[in-house]
């Protein structure tokens, strides 16, 4: 009995081994390397060797206005992007769920399609759309005498990035939520119908609670992803105007690979990691308590 159980456990570990090896080699080790790096002052450019500085990099970050600006921009992006993405994905998933199964595949693919495009292509495409002189959007808006400074005004730039992100990323959560919807047993809806529940109340009291695990999954993925926003911003605005869209990952990237300050960049990365971890824990708590 115990022998076979042990064997089973062993085979489980064996199955997990290839992934675990890669995970340790390419995630855990670099993470720990980054953590130790964050305690050093190491600037590739200078002739000076790496020097242990303790928490100096973290202290510098706390007094660095660009760090706070980037953190603010990141939060702004998360707040503006995540709720609409989830709501829209939920709405689309519900819509697709309601149409006959045979025709679902087409709509599912259509909404998922933008997600497949790499960010460099999508970014260039939207930069053209947003161009205030000859872009697609202003060409249409121009006919009613409106000219929007999509990405050239510091007030408009972030919402524009969010709009593009919505188009680009809504497909992923939508597919997950649709699968979740299709997993809800029909019996619940039938019972609700017998009790006379319709429309919003069915959605509120049956669909949403049963969708909670999927929703949690989608939200956590979405929020952690949004905190790491980089591609869209880098392709469309390069962090401008006036650094209003320079997010933390871009700042980390520039610190490490334009300014070659590896220690400081590692410290910034760990701060970002802490922020994301904190938010993930809060979300799991909230969903569990409900």
């Amino acid at each position: 009995m115990t022998a076979s159980r042990r064997l089973r456990a062993l085979s489980g570990y064996l199955f997990a081994l290839p992934y675990l090896t890669l995970f340790c080699g390419f995630v855990v080790l670099p993470l720990l390397f980054g953590l130790s790096l964050s305690l050093f002052r190491w600037e590739i450019l200078s002739a000076r060797p790496a020097q242990f500085v303790g928490s100096a990099n973290y202290q510098e970050a706390l007094h660095d206005p660009y760090f706070w600006k980037a953190l603010f921009a990141t939060f702004r992006f998360v707040m503006l992007a995540v709720p609409p993405t989830i709501c829209l994905a939920l709405a689309i998933a519900n819509g697709i769920h309601a149409i006959p199964r045979k025709r679902q595949a087409f709509y599912r693919a259509a909404y998922f399609l933008p997600t497949v495009i790499t960010i460099s292509v999508a970014g260039i495409l939207w930069r053209w759309f947003y161009n205030s002189e000859f872009g697609l959007f202003n060409a249409y808006l121009g006919q009613v005498n409106i000219k929007v400074p999509w990405i050239t005004d510091y007030r408009w730039a972030m919402p524009s990035i969010v709009l593009m992100t919505l188009w680009w990323t809504v497909g992923g959560p939508m597919v997950a939520l649709l699968a979740g919807l299709q997993n809800i047993p029909v019996a619940y809806y039938e019972a609700a119908a017998l009790d006379g529940a319709v429309g919003w109340r069915v959605f509120r009291h049956i669909t949403l609670p049963l969708l909670r695990p999927v929703l949690l999954f989608v939200m956590v993925l979405n929020i952690t992803g949004a905190f790491q926003v980089f591609g869209q911003v880098y392709m469309i605005t390069r962090g401008g105007p006036e650094m209003s869209t320079r997010t933390l990952v871009q700042y980390i990237y520039e610190t490490a690979f334009n300014n070659y300050r590896m220690g400081y960049a590692s410290a910034l990365s760990w701060l970002l990691f802490l922020v994301i971890a904190l938010f993930s824990v809060i979300q799991f708590r909230m969903m569990r308590e409900q």
């Binding site: 390419f26 670099p30 590739i44 450019l45 200078s46 002739a47 000076r48 997600t115 497949v116 495009i117 790499t118 960010i119 460099s120 292509v121 161009n131 205030s132 002189e133 000859f134 005498n145 400074p149 050239t152 990323t169 992923g172 992803g225 790491q228 980089f230 591609g231 401008g240 105007p241 006036e242 650094m243 990952v249 990237y253 520039e254 690979f257 334009n258 300014n259 070659y260």
Partner: protein
Amino acid sequence: MERDSLHPLSQRLTPPPPSRRELMALATLAAGGLLTSCGRGGSTKTVVRFWNGFTGPDGRTMLRMVQRFNAQNPDVQVVMQRMDWNTCYNKLFVSGLGGRAPELFVVHTRAMERFVRAGFLRSNNDLITGVHSIDTRDLDSNVWQGVEFGGKHYGLPLDCHAMGMYFNRALFQKAGMVDRQGNPLVPTNREEFLHVIKEITHPGKEGKADTWGFVLTNWESNLYTFMRQFGGEFFTPDHSKCVLYNPENIEALQFCVDLIRRYKVAPQPEYFDSWIGFRQGKVGIVFEGIYMLADLQKQKDLDFSGAPVPQVSQHKAVWADSHNLCMRSDLKEPELSATWRFIKYLSDNSLDWAEGGQIPVRKSLRAAPRFESMKVQSAFAKQIPIVNYLPRLPFIFEFQTEFNLALEKALRGRATPAEALQNAETRMNGIIARDRGNG
């Protein structure tokens, strides 16, 4: 190569499964692998890897030169890889640290200092007088000095891409800014410049200006030119202190702000869109690098010409940079001589390079009738004696970030020129202190 492109950041940021682009990249990598292995295999070809950021039309010009060299030199195989400049510099540093840098690569004069300081570059003083010698007296002395560090030269300048004035001949004509023969009255000083752009600017429908006299496209190169013309300094000569916040620079920046707000002869600057405005024939004058020429030549309906930048204050100055052909510091034979042979080939044939919108820095080549027939190139080339490179700083990219932010704030009216420059100066001095180990 593969390890470089699988950067941890890009891994985290690319959500979807392999796309067509990625598959194509894989295919290219595989093809590249084949090529290299061919070179190392049966034949005795020496492979010279050549990285640069020529991703525009200049890349096609360079590719033709590479192909011609490969055809003429059967024992050498130059394999060129093009990527945008940011990526190129990042990859150069990462590969340089790992000891896998390409044999040959291009570094701008403004970025030389950091590469030299990191010990990545090989000086070429022994080669330039060797078998395949180049007469350095034929090079423009100020351009040649740009690659000199501690008495040694660490690159061979291929060109000098100075900024110049592009102007729309049709708009000059329309505004009556022509002489009796109908030739445009090209402005050369502040009064003429202001006069011309005021005449060209006129409001279109709904009270909006339809045609603009001038527009700021690249703020950095434009303002650097103006500030140098006003006599502004950026750093103390030993680069120990930033002195950006000075009356001359403030005046120069105010001059540009006034063009937008006071004289209303230039629209709000909008990055690259402003350049599109010139291409569409809505703007009379822009100051841009010679490398933008190819872009304009594609625009068949645009009647434009080129001239030196007007002198708007007491000094002569114009922004420029150079592409320098640099070698890895630990380059050995046979790659070393093969690489140098290719470098010399590019320099000797830099008129081909000029054709694509560049100015060669070999005086003998510029004297050739073929160069004189390149109208815009030869007009811009007149400025070579007065070109100003950005200060040679190890932290040049940080300086550019701060400088551009200050310009953006002032030009958009979010700060006065004095406030913006003072702020940037303070930040820069913090960076210098940190770099020197006090911060």
